[in-house]
């Protein structure tokens, strides 16, 4: 019996879809934080980096929201295999 590889499913919304060049992606994943996943995604989809602000200490901010299982995630939010991750533009109010 073969073991199913550990994955997270990532969906891109709005202009992030354009930056990523795809609507969804399946990413091999064992464990880590939302920030770790974002680093991986920027490596895989470099144009996403246009909306990521990095400072001397690494990831500082991003001009989009990361939802892990519908919860808005901070960078240290844990992401587990099987989680659903959505990368979507922020809402601005107004």
């Amino acid at each position: 019996m073969t073991e199913t590889p550990a994955m997270v499913r990532v969906y891109f919304g709005g202009h992030l879809r354009t930056l990523a060049g795809t609507e969804k992606a399946e990413i091999s994943w064992s464990s880590g934080s939302a920030g770790d996943l974002l680093d991986l995604l920027v490596g895989k989809f470099p144009r996403l980096g246009e909306d990521v602000l990095k400072g001397p200490k690494g990831l500082e901010d991003a001009r989009f929201l990361v939802l892990v299982n519908r919860i808005v995630a901070c960078w240290d939010h844990p992401v587990e295999p099987g989680d659903e991750v959505r990368i979507v533009p922020p809402f601005e109010g107004g």
Binding site: G13, G14, H15, V88, P89, E92
Partner: protein, 633 residues
């Protein structure tokens, strides 16, 4: 010498035509600061709770903050304050553009109108003074035409704020529009109807002298310190405007769809910032002293909506005329936006009224004889445009809708109250409490009726953190515990944005609250620390609440419609979620020091320096007890 303030407020008696100047220092400025905080003090003292909002007894005030006219970022905003015809209680509206900034440069901190003119007039203000001019030739003109005509009669560089036909016709969600085609709106609460009731068509102002600043070098250093952070974080807002939020809101389940009955919608993509940039965007617009520049300029060159050329639809409008009515034609929404701005209608309430009418029509509650022989349809831009015209003219079905969805539901019946989405008579803004739970208690308790910007609590359920208020990271958006307290704290903070007249987008893009105290101190020479300043925010919030209590509002009015509390969406980013309003409200009242009826306690009012108001509450409670003991009900 008083720094920051010009020291003068114009007072215009429209009944007699008498114009005078009142020292701004007539009021306790350290306690109420300016803008809507100062407006609360004046309205409380001068407009009786029993006054009809559309009678001459009501005041209509245009008030800047102490930072207006200085280099403080986004300080060019102004407040419009009156007793609201939509709620019959406290009314305020916040607006950007250039008008407030220019008023300050003309030498005035604000303008207070009392009485009512016998015929249409407009006010022309310069550093030399002010004069009322006849406006019979402007009556009936839309806000864009009025802007151009008034400038032609006064000065090309004047800033103009005006009502359109909706205000003249006393539509209860009529707006007051500034800056002509750029169309910045004082939209909420129907204050355009108050202006119309006074036969005041417009106010034009010209000025060029900056107010005195106590510590200019320190102010500039503070601005330079934080501006790069804000500028960097706001790049997306600058690039795509508030339209950028449409798809994100849809993903969260925050975007209201089909009169708040649907949780997801592919059509959102067609209303996004990307779509706007691709199809109709021609330029950008920034309010006075703003370096973010979220305003859009759009143009439609061809097709059925050709001719649109003005400020583009904001997020709220893309939702109200778009997703709420299932219209995904961006050019149609841009047309409805321009039409609404010309007519002087609040786009939020107008779209809400139309979506309500479509649902009521679909359910057979509106006779087809009133809707052209067939039921109103979802997704039909013609329905939106036709109803906008009918509402502004108070014609046909539009006359019913012109009173807002609460009154319309009351007239229609048939259970339509459940999907008349409003609080205290003001329609919801375009964010869903089922997706961001703090919005439930924020809408329920906002002094002006349903409002997200008077708390901005939903920011803390998404991306924001505010360590100075005790929130190091965003909160779980579906949690209820803690949200009552958080919302009250945020309301106190946002009161300061209303008093200082700064834009909330500073906060969502990295401004820390301590800068508010810093900028106020540098401009005025005062010595506020943040806790004292937040107390000023709490003071003005409570003063507005006591005014509302005197107008007859109480805990029973801190309610949300059944659809929001009992009908979860079956799909989308907030599927299955319902906010527990009662849990949040109980916590909220306790944190605020209010009783179970939602009335501020005398003890808390005294802590805030509101001694006279504390005595009023004590007398009210005493009178109620006396009535109960004598059985006089």
């Amino acid at each position: 010498m008083v720094y920051g303030y010009t020291g003068k407020i114009l007072r215009v008696d429209l009944s007699s035509g008498r114009i005078s100047e009142v020292p701004t220092a007539s009021w306790d400025l350290r306690a109420f600061i300016g803008g809507s905080g100062l407006g609360a003090r004046i309205l409380f003292d001068e407009v009786s709770p029993g006054a009809d909002p559309l009678d001459p007894e009501n005041l209509l005030m245009f008030l800047t903050g102490p930072l207006a006219g200085t280099p403080a970022p986004t300080s060019g905003r102004h407040a419009v304050v009156a007793k609201s015809p939509a709620t019959g209680a406290w009314g305020e509206s916040d607006v950007g553009g250039t008008w407030g900034h220019t008023l300050k440069l003309a030498g005035y901190d604000g303008v207070i109108f009392e009485g009512g003119a016998p015929g249409p007039v407009y006010l022309w203000i310069t550093r030399e003074g002010a004069e009322l001019r006849p406006a019979g030739h402007l009556w009936g003109r839309d806000s864009f035409e009025t802007d151009a005509l008034v400038k032609a009669e006064t000065a090309p560089g004047a800033a103009v704020t005006a009502i359109g036909p909706a205000g003249e016709n006393l539509v209860l969600f009529a707006s007051i529009m500034s800056d002509g085609r750029h169309a910045r709106a004082a939209g909420r609460g129907g204050l355009g109807a108050v202006m119309g009731s006074k036969k005041l068509k417009a106010i034009a102002v010209l000025g060029d002298r900056e107010p005195s600043i106590a510590r200019r070098a320190e102010l500039m250093a503070s601005i330079r310190e934080i501006a790069p952070t804000i500028s960097q974080k706001a790049q997306g807002l600058r690039a795509q405007g508030t339209a950028r939020g449409v798809t994100g809101a849809e993903a969260l389940g925050d975007l209201p769809i089909k009169n708040w009955s649907q949780g997801a919608w592919k059509g959102a993509e067609n209303l996004s910032g990307d779509a706007m940039a691709e199809k109709i965007l021609t330029g950008r617009y920034a309010c006075a002293r703003c370096f973010i520049g979220c305003g859009r300029e759009v143009k439609v060159d061809s097709g059925p909506y050709a001719g649109v050329e003005s400020g583009g639809p904001e997020y709220e409008t893309l939702a109200s005329f778009g997703s709420l009515c299932l219209v995904d034609d961006l050019e149609a929404v841009a047309y409805a936006n321009e039409l609404s701005n010309r007519l002087g209608l609040d786009t939020i309430s107008a779209g809400s009224a139309i979506a309500f009418a479509i649902e009521a029509s679909q359910r057979g509650l509106i006779p087809v004889s009133e809707t052209g022989g067939r039921r109103l349809a979802w997704g039909d831009p013609v329905v939106v445009v036709d109803l906008l015209r009918q509402i502004a003219a108070r014609r046909g079905l539009g006359d019913l809708l012109a009173g807002g969805v609460r009154k319309a539901a009351s007239a229609i019946g048939g259970g339509s109250e459940d999907y008349a989405i409003e609080v205290k008579g003001v329609e919801f803004p375009m964010h869903d409490p089922r997706a961001l739970h703090s919005l439930a208690v924020a809408y329920a308790t906002s002094n002006r009726g349903a409002c997200h910007r008077q708390a901005f609590s939903h920011g803390l359920e998404a991306r924001m953190s505010l360590p100075e208020l005790g929130y190091d990271q965003p909160l779980d958006r579906f949690a209820d515990l803690g949200k009552g307290t958080m919302t009250a704290k945020m309301q106190n903070l946002m009161e300061l944005f209303g008093s200082l007249k700064l834009c909330g987008f500073l906060l969502s893009n990295g401004l820390k609250p301590r800068y508010l105290a810093g900028w106020l101190n540098h401009v005025t020479g005062w010595d506020f620390d943040l806790p004292e300043l937040l107390r000023a925010g709490e003071r003005s919030f409570n003063l507005k609440r006591v005014y509302n209590v005197r107008c007859g509002l109480s805990a029973r009015d801190d309610r949300l419609p059944a659809r929001i509390l009992r009908e979860p969406n079956s799909e989308g980013g907030a599927a299955g979620s319902l906010p527990r309003l009662n849990v949040m409200l109980q916590e909220y009242y306790e944190y605020r020091g209010w009783d179970s009826e939602g009335v501020p306690t005398p003890a808390r009012l005294r802590e805030l320096g509101l001694d006279a108001e504390a005595r009023m509450i004590e007398e009210r409670v005493g009178n109620a007890r006396e009535r109960a003991s004598t059985g006089t009900g």
